[in-house]
């Protein structure tokens, strides 16, 4: 067997060594610029073992409070995701190019893009100012960001629905609502469910830090323990967070397997 010494015609060459080298050089220069190799900074890495040692053993006393606050975090994520799904489906349908023209889809896609450019924690901060401290601000913040994000995932899925199916129905002049109800939604239903579950998992993790801005959940305690240097309680909070996130991921993956056999 012989090997081909030169790229085959029509075959794209692999990313060149020069490009890989250039990326490495840029990354290294950024690390230098950010002080990663500054001796004073390097010396501070010595604090890490002391910090970890200070977290052990975890303090069990705040456990009931932390579990309750984590349940609140999951509820914030659930309510926020549910609102987002309810808003995203119609918004994504209106943003679908195979259903509507540029006059509708382009401005709507732009608005959705603006919404998702703002992270959920900033939305939560805005709602803390609007509705006050507490989980409601967290729910609204989560819902806003998720609506922007989920709508994009969904309109891309709706656009990917086989055009031929849509055309076969369109010839019968059944109207846009029927096209959505009987072609786009059933064909993309599995994807809608899958992405909604993914969004919920993501929001459980994201909601954990909403407490940092006073929007409810376990984040409030995490911030408080860091500020008062109570690292043992902090480690308890992180264990509770980890346990809930793993549990939600597990349940979510089981639901996905149940409903999405493919």
């Amino acid at each position: 067997m012989t090997t081909t010494p030169h790229p085959v015609r029509g075959q794209r060459p692999p990313v060149g060594l020069a490009v890989q080298l250039a990326i490495a050089v840029v990354t290294l220069s950024l690390l230098i610029r950010f002080g990663a190799f500054d001796p004073a900074v390097v010396a501070r890495f010595g604090n890490l073992p002391a910090f970890v040692a200070g977290m052990l053993p975890p303090d069990p006393r705040p456990l009931p409070t932390l579990v309750m606050s984590m349940i609140e975090t999951v509820m914030i994520a659930f309510a926020g995701t549910s609102i987002a799904v309810a808003l995203s489906v119609p918004l994504a349908l209106l943003s679908t190019r195979s259903l509507f023209g540029d006059a509708v889809t382009v401005p709507l896609r732009f608005v959705l893009s603006v919404i998702r450019t703002v992270p959920s924690i900033i939305w939560a901060l805005i709602f803390v100012v609007t509705v006050g401290f507490g989980p409601l601000a967290g729910v609204l913040g989560t819902a806003m960001y998720s609506t922007g994000y989920l709508s994009k995932l969904l309109y891309e899925a709706f656009d990917a629905v086989d055009r031929e199916v849509l055309e076969a129905i369109r010839v019968m002049r059944v109207g846009k609502l029927a096209e959505m109800r009987y072609v786009v939604l059933p064909e993309a239903a599995n994807y809608v469910l899958s992405q909604s579950l993914f969004m919920f998992e993501y929001n459980v993790r994201a909601s954990a830090i909403l407490g940092l801005v006073g929007a409810g959940g376990i984040g409030f305690y995490i911030l408080a323990y860091v500020q008062v240097l109570d690292y043992r309680s902090l480690s308890t909070a992180l264990i509770v967070l980890l346990a809930f996130v793993l549990a939600v991921d597990f349940v979510s993956s089981r639901v996905r397997k149940r409903f999405l056999p493919d």
Binding site: D162, V165, E167, V171, R173
Partner: protein, 235 residues
């Protein structure tokens, strides 16, 4: 009913024209085979005929038997990939054919009048799909999906069905079954325009053949007056 394409030109990107002055007539009660090589414009021709694409020049007009124009002709369209909704049941797919006459909240919620459901059951029975109402379409064989697509067109009340490469992906036995079914529907007054590149199907199942080459109809005659050899030459 007759669906007439008169001097139809069409291009996806001007100035490259896929159809260049096509004149052809599809009639109910008649099977027209549109023969052409890959890339000859067969799919585009059917899409223009179905009203999915607007001609750049020329016109598509539907008229009744007395020559009066029809504003809402009953046309069915079956694309190359069959165009059935895989995640819905056979019954749900067939009922889609009744949507244009049953608009409203009820049908959007999935509720159809009893007589429409009974009509759908009758059609499914006629097409050999009786008892399969609750099967998911994505789990059916290719031949069964073709029947579901035909059933949906019948439910719509189509007098003419435009079918793109309708039997190209079926095995020979299923192809014959489906074409025999089309023959029996023709006897009931339903017309078909079927695109194909299989010259052997034309004399056996077509009443008329139109050969499309480079966006033009280069031959149009009775299928019984042609031989596969002549058709190959025309291609």
């Amino acid at each position: 009913m007759q669906l007439k394409l008169e001097g139809v030109w069409f291009g996806y990107r001007n100035p490259v024209m896929v159809l260049r002055g096509v004149d052809v007539v599809f009639r109910s009660g008649e099977v027209t085979m549109v023969l052409g090589r890959s890339g000859s414009g067969k799919t585009t021709l059917l899409k223009v005929a179905a009203g999915l694409l607007r001609p750049s020049r020329g016109r598509v007009i539907a008229v009744d038997d007395s020559g009066e124009p029809l504003s809402r002709p009953k046309i069915g369209y079956i694309p190359q990939g069959i165009g059935v909704v895989g995640n819905m049941t056979v019954m749900e797919n067939v009922l889609l054919g009744a949507l244009d006459r049953n608009r409203g909240l009820g049908t959007l919620l999935g509720r159809f009048p009893r007589e429409e459901v009974e009509r759908a059951e009758e059609i499914l029975e006629q097409l050999g799909l009786g008892g399969m109402e609750n099967e998911l379409v994505r789990e059916l064989s290719g031949g069964q999906r073709q029947r579901v697509a035909i059933a949906r067109s019948l439910m719509h009340g189509a007098e003419l069905v435009l079918a793109d490469e309708f039997v190209s992906q079926l095995d020979p036995l299923t192809t014959i079954e489906v074409l025999e079914l089309i023959r029996s529907l023709k006897a009931r007054g339903i017309g078909f325009a079927i695109t194909t590149h299989d010259v052997h199907l034309v004399p056996r199942y077509g009443d008329k053949v139109a050969v499309l080459k480079d966006g033009k109809i280069v031959m149009e005659r009775l299928a019984s007056m042609t031989s596969p050899e002549e058709l190959v030459e025309a291609l």
